[in-house]
Symmetry: C2
Subunit: 166 residues, 2 copies
DNA sequence: CTCAATTTGCAACATTATAACAGTTCTTCT
DNA sequence: AGAAGAACTGTTATAATGTTGCAAATTGAG
């Protein structure tokens, strides 16, 4: 059973989360229209659930949330929705956590960097193009042609750093 | 059941694999002695199995290989050996593959970059310190304190790039 | 409206990983 | 050497994550 994680202090402050989700939904809707993809109610709902948590959510956690609503979906339903959302760059999978998180920049960019707090579980996404370019150059030195990159950094977020200092 | 992957052409050429494994074993033995850790026969054998494959190996693949020998270990045995080897930096886990690969530089370094060929499955490890430093700087800009980093790049290795060009 | 394609539902199953506890081996201290 | 404690391994069971294959329903195009 999924027990919803308490929203970290850093997010309660300075952050209108309802608005944040709305904006993401609108952007996703738009992007799907442009790409001729169908943003069905199920996909929309899964997207919304992922976005509602700023900490990555596992597929079975999403499943539990959906089970608390009208639907009683089975695993493949959720995995397919997540596949769709990943394909269109709307969510990312964090492999080391077996979990998914909303992408802050659905349009472009390849190879974001994720900062995962080991204490509170929040994940921040960086997109430093220079990092990607430099890695690309190093790989080319070895004759390797990179197609996609994922960087996962684990450590302490600002709030938890302050907390641990005390 | 584990069906051993064919050794990619890039590795058959220019590479004395038996020697490569021997060297890695000696280095591992050494490092364990220095750290007061016990390089037991089981751990040694698991390390050797991982090193014998230049493509990442899943825990159950290792289990299958061990089952073909005297032992009939159960999953926890292998996972524990892998945990030990990871703790001492002798192997790395590639989260997106649920698989393990030998570390080319057991002593130091944090935050290597893995180049994963999507065609033949080989993995090359880079260690560009500058990349780590730059990411560290970006993270600090956001107040995030990085403790460890893993970068996974997927693409085509030199041999498979040439092959696909033809 | 009908056909074809896409999406969803569903049952069964495969793969990866861990918990809990018992037995064994190694090390250290006397 | 012998005893005590720590580290390692064995074993059973189970949890968590992800997939296959096929049937039913929905959608969009002609």
């Amino acid at each position: 059973m999924h027990t919803p994680r308490e929203i970290p202090a850093a997010l309660r402050r300075n952050h209108d989360h309802a608005r944040c989700i709305e904006d993401a939904l609108a952007a996703a809707q738009d992007l799907c229209r442009r790409e001729g993809a169908r943003f069905t109610p199920l996909r929309r709902r899964v997207f919304e659930i992922v976005w509602a948590s700023h900490t990555p959510l596992g597929a079975y956690a999403i499943l539990d949330i959906l089970a608390g609503e009208g639907r009683r979906p089975m695993p493949p339903t959720v995995y397919r929705a997540l596949d769709f959302l990943q394909t269109h760059g709307l969510v990312h999978r964090i492999p080391s956590l077996n979990a998914y998180i909303g992408c802050v920049d659905p349009g472009g960019h390849h190879g974001g960097q994720y900062l995962i707090c080991r204490n509170c579980g929040t994940v921040a996404e960086l997109t430093d193009e220079g990092l990607g370019q430099r890695l690309d150059a190093r790989a080319r030195d070895h004759g390797f042609r990179i197609e996609s990159v994922l960087t996962e950094a684990v450590g302490l977020c600002p709030a938890c750093t302050r907390e641990s200092a005390a």
